[in-house]
Amino acid sequence: MSDAESGGDPHDARNEETVESDEFEPVQVFPESEEMDLRPGSDDCYKCSTCDSVCPVAEVDDEFPGPKFQGPEQWRLKRKDDRDIDDSVMSCSNCMRCDSSCPSDVPLSQMHNTARGQFVQEQMEKLSQEYLRNRILANYRFFAELGSKVPRLTNFLMGNVVVQSVNEKLLGITSEREFPEFADETFREWWTNRGGAKIESDEKRVAYFHGCYSNYNTPEVGKSLVRLFEYFGYEVLVPPQKCSGTPMFANGMLADARRAAETNVSEFAAAIEEGADVIASCTSCSMSLRQEYPELFDFEGTASVAAQTYEAVEYLRLHEDLAAELERAEVEDADFAYHAPCHARNQGLAGQAVEMMDLLGGASAEDVGESCSGISGTYGWKAEKYDTSMEIGAEMFDHMEDAEAETGMTECPTCAMQMEHGTGYEIRHPLEVMAEALVE
């Protein structure tokens, strides 16, 4: 696998700007051999089961006993030498709704992430199909980078029935879903081609964490963000970066996540040193930088990156009079059925898009309810989880159908995938709509 590393044209902008490609080899998780003891986290649990009542997986799959057992109870029962983790931890989709529900502040997703990491490290067969598949899904960026070098061929191949069937049979990746298409020009290619930032400013500077999806699959979102921030007079930096780690946490691939996080923290901490705040367009990426990094890692700069990372629209709301701008603007036929991604909910952003769309002349957004979309990143891609994923999503699909709008809206690329998959609607990102309204 390592032949693929840096195999491209040395003048390729990607190779200059991104850090060297991710390695992909069997790993020793927890190379520092520091084991995390999360038993004290159980001190906060008063057993109310609110977390179980919001868990979208436990609601449809009794193999998963719910976050309370999986988190504070399982941890509390551990003695030092008890290493076994119940295998049901792999059924958790890492939507993190338990985190935002717990009235008592139990670090549930941290417990799940850590337990999952230990399970994968110590109990999962490293040559199993499940391990390989999860490793591949978790390292989407690696494959995306390859794929986007020859986007048309990849798109053709991934849409190929034979390939899909091989994926399902050999890898356990469901053939029910269409692989996301790779853009002909990645965001970073576009960025390089346009000559980088158009505005320079010492006062207003942001560093953009675009994540994999905006780079390889939906560069329009990234471009919209750049236009919007430049409209408000910001200098946009696009530092080198790796995957945020979200799919790796969800699959217990903590060593992969650690490597990616280390690079991201050091690059973005450097940007912060230069006076920038960090913004992201994907709510799972911002979640990762804000919450999971400080919960799981301790690099220098982790805390400052967590405190200074914002979701892009949130940032504009706090620092600009975005409301007034939106009220002055006008768009046509912009009615949306909006789904708040779980990870946006966890950051306190669940109501934001609806509020913003309601301000924008000609636009409206209807919240399609609090249910989870069910895909949870890589979860819904697993053949054995596909049905569960669609059952979880059923409530959202119904509400989308009920809503008047015929276009969907969300901040999360994989939720968007699920929304499109379940309803056939086109799905927009709020940044795209705002950029169209304000910048054009």
Partner: protein, 438 residues
């Protein structure tokens, strides 16, 4: 540039949502900030107003007794009073519509609990209506082997010991389908919501077949029905389709079907939360959830005694939310609106004074169900529900408190939790809104 509203409500439980709704209906721009899910999901979904007076006497009419409550009781504040309690209930009735009963009379209903007792309450879910204890029709209680919080035969014997005016039997059956013993309560509810096809006939493949969940459940019960005219199940008859599930079961069984309210996680509590949230949304309340309010800023112009903004902590960043008026509805000790350590008790956001004995060994009674001082912990407020400091002066001109963060009553002993939340939520929300709209 900052986020600014007329009224900002901190806390997303019944009191907070009632306050937000009341304020929005007065024409104010309202935002509700909540950190986590509220205790509604742990509560039974019954709406108690006042079940016992201070002497522990069972009350058939809660309103009669309000005037006799101690002056420190939230019901006794001038902006609340009996009329405030009634208005709170009227707002409640409007929000929940046909999904609740009890509004036709002032009298309390005695509703069966999952512990086998009955308790006085003012409003009960329609799904529990057929189970009230002053109805003399014969009852069959049905429990499930794996739903360990409700033992139906024991509850039936207990009700008999309480002298209920009806015949009652209990039976334990397996929940149909091949669910694991620790399946979440929401999983069973979801199977009934979706009317999934479930395996019946147990582990004998020859007789195993599948049936829609509701029919399968009815079949599991029908042999035990006898002459019962009412059948009670633990409250897990769906999260969304409760009425349809009940109707289907009633048709299959030829008897009235009701739910016995349960503790956490409580499906009726979740349904109630959904109804209030929807009503708030429809009234234009904006919800910002997921991060804690940790602190506040004083108003720059008015200075001390007036709150300008609250600060929400988001992974180390402090994000201000500005408003003219604030409502504190963060709950009591359970909801974490009141916190304590070995040395004292506090209200953590605004540091409002929480009266309490200085010796923590005076916070409790020695009997488990004794007269616990801790049960009355909370802020003390003036007639307009504004928290008072140690010297009985108003802490902040533009802060009101609602719900369990208010001290002065033991809602568990007197059965008044939801009533206090509704009445004070309404009073605080309305009063706050009138300050900005006047």
């Amino acid at each position: 540039m900052a986020i600014e509203d007329d009224v900002l409500v901190v806390g997303g439980g019944l009191a907070g949502m009632t306050a937000a709704l009341a304020a929005a209906r007065e024409g104010a721009d309202v935002r509700l900030l909540s950190h986590k899910d509220s205790t509604l999901r742990s509560a039974s979904g019954l709406v108690d107003v006042l079940g016992y007076d201070s002497a522990g006497t069972l009350l058939a009419d809660p309103f009669d007794a309000i005037a006799d409550l101690p002056e420190s009781h939230p019901y006794r504040q001038a902006s609340v009073g009996e009329s405030g309690v009634r208005e709170g209930l009227a707002l409640f009735d409007e929000v929940v519509g046909e999904s609740y009963r009890g509004g036709h009379t002032d009298r309390n209903a005695l509703v069966s609990t999952h512990g086998g007792t009955v308790k006085p309450t003012a409003r009960y879910p329609a799904s529990a209506a057929a189970g009230v204890a002053s109805d003399d029709r014969e009852v069959l209680l049905v429990g499930f082997e794996t739903v360990t919080d409700f033992d139906a035969p024991l509850a039936a014997d207990h009700l008999r010991a309480a002298g209920v005016p009806f015949e009652v039997e209990g039976v334990t059956v397996p929940f149909p389908g091949d669910f694991r013993a620790d399946a979440a309560r929401t999983r069973l509810a979801d199977a009934l919501d979706a009317n999934e096809r479930l395996e019946v006939g147990g582990n004998r493949p020859a007789v195993s077949t599948t049936l829609p969940a509701r029919k399968a459940l009815a079949e599991a019960v029908t042999d035990h029905l006898g002459s019962a005219e009412r059948v009670g199940f633990p409250a897990l008859l769906g999260q969304h389709e409760t009425e349809a599930i009940r109707a289907d079961l009633e048709t299959e069984l030829g008897a009235a079907v009701f739910e016995v309210p349960m503790g956490s996680p409580s499906l009726p509590g979740m349904r109630l939360e959904g109804k209030f949230r929807k009503a708030c949304r429809e009234a234009g309340v904006r919800f910002t959830t997921g991060n804690p309010v940790v602190d506040f800023e004083e108003d720059e112009e008015s200075g001390s005694g007036v709150i300008g903004a609250v600060r929400v902590d988001r992974n180390g960043a402090a994000i201000p939310f500005h408003a003219d008026q604030f409502v504190l509805a963060t709950g009591g000790l359970v909801g974490k609106g009141v916190d304590s350590d070995r040395n004292g008790v506090e209200e953590p956001i605004f540091d409002c004074h929480v009266p309490h004995p200085s010796d923590r060994y005076d916070w409790f009674a020695d009997e488990a169900f004794g007269d616990h001082p801790f049960a009355r912990f909370g802020v003390k407020a003036d007639d307009d529900l504004r928290p008072l400091d140690r010297g009985e002066e108003v802490e902040f001109d533009n802060l009101r408190a609602a719900g369990a963060v208010l001290g002065g009553c033991d809602f568990a002993a007197e059965k008044s939790g939801s009533g206090v939340s509704l009445a004070t939520g309404l009073a605080a929300g309305r009063s706050a809104a009138r300050e900005v709209t006047k």
